[in-house]
Symmetry: C2
DNA sequence: CATTTTTATGTAATCAGTTACGTAACCAGT
DNA sequence: ACTGGTTACGTAACTGATTACATAAAAATG
C-alpha cells in the first residue's frame, strides 16, 4: 500500500528520514527496557563529554555536526537531569565550558553497557543485510515498521547473553 | 572532526536523518536550476495524484505513509499554487476528493522530466557506491556535505545529455 | 590604542512533520 | 428509526531540529 516503495531511488531520502525516526523511537524503548530515562538524541553529546571531559558549546557543535542551538538545548535538558554542568571559561569570558557532573560520571557505566548492546545488535542486523543501500534500507524498514520487532530482537539478545 | 563517524552503527540513525535533510535541501536546488518553484516534500502527493487521478485525504495518507494532517498541509500549499483542487465526495459527505487542476496536469510533463533526471542521477550515484549500507551512507554524506557537489554533478549530467 | 572583524553564545522565529483531540457522517445491530 | 462504534477530516499543540538575528568578548589591524 506504500507508493513510496514503487518509486525507487527517487524517494530514497524520505525513506531514510522515516527510517531514522523509526530507529530513534525504537531506541527510546531500549533505554526504557533498562528502566532508564535517557533519550537517544542526548547520546552524541553525552558520549562526547565522556571522551573529552570538558568542551565549549561551539566545539561540541562542530564535533557533533549539529547546530549550536541544538547543543544549548541538549545541555539545558541534561543539566535538568543533573548529568551535565557548565561554567564560564577563565581564559575566555565568551566561552562556556561543559562537563559531566559527578552524577553524570556515575551514570556512564550503565549507559556504556546499553550502548555496547545496541552496537552489537546493530552490527548483527547490518551484517546480515549489508548488500546494497536500497536493500538494506528496505530491510531496516521491515525491522522497524513491525512494531516491537527491534525491541524483541534486542531482548532476545540480552537474554541469550545473560545465560 | 565528526565524532559521529567514529561511533559506527551506533549513530546510524542520526546520520541517515541528517543525510535525508541534506538530500532534500539539494533537491530544492534541482528544481531551482530548472527555474521551477516546486518543493521536494510535495513530490509524493503530486505524483500520487498524477497516478490516481482522484483520491481522498485518508487514502492518500495511507498510500504515502504520512499522517493525514501532513496531507492536508501539502494540499493547502498545492492549492495555493493552483496545481491541486478538492471537492466534497457526492457519495460520502465526510470525504474530500483531491485531484490535480488543469494547471497541475499542464505542469506535470515538466516535473516528470526533472524526476527522470533525478532518478538517473541517483541511480548512478547509488550503483557506483552500493557496497553496503554504512559505506553507501558515508559516500552519500561525502556527496551531500560538500556544498554544491550534487548540483554540479547534476548539472554536468544535464549538459552531457543535451549534447 | 581605537576600530574593525571575528568568534562564542543566546534567543526567537521557522520548518516539516507528528500526536492528540474534536466533530460530523456513515454503518451495524437492534 | 435509534444508538454505539468507526471513519474522514480538521485544528491545535508539540517535537526536534534548523536558520536568522542580537550581543558581548577577543583578536587583528592600522
Amino acid at each position: 500500500m506504500d507508493i513510496i516503495k514503487e518509486l525507487g531511488p527517487l524517494a530514497i531520502a524520505s525513506r531514510m528520514k522515516r527510517l531514522a525516526e523509526l530507529v530513534f523511537k525504537q531506541a527510546i524503548n531500549v533505554y526504557r527496557v533498562h528502566g532508564i530515562d535517557f533519550e537517544p538524541k542526548w547520546f552524541p553529546l553525552f558520549y562526547l563529554l565522556s571522551q573529552k571531559e570538558s568542551i565549549g558549546v561551539m566545539e561540541a557543535s562542530e564535533y557533533l555536526n549539529i547546530s549550536h542551538p541544538a547543543v544549548i538545548q541538549f545541555v539545558k535538558e541534561l543539566e535538568k537531569k543533573g548529568w551535565v554542568m557548565s561554567e564560564k571559561s577563565p581564559e575566555d569570558a565568551r566561552k562556556r565550558i561543559l562537563k559531566l557532573t559527578e552524577k553524570g560520571w556515575a551514570f556512564l557505566p550503565q549507559l556504556q553497557e546499553i550502548w555496547d548492546n545496541i552496537k552489537t545488535v546493530n552490527q548483527q542486523l547490518i551484517s546480515k543485510e549489508a548488500h546494497d543501500l536500497m536493500r538494506s534500507v528496505e530491510a531496516f524498514e521491515q525491522y522497524f515498521l513491525k512494531d516491537g520487532f527491534y525491541i524483541d530482537y534486542y531482548q532476545k539478545y540480552i537474554d541469550e547473553k545473560s545465560k
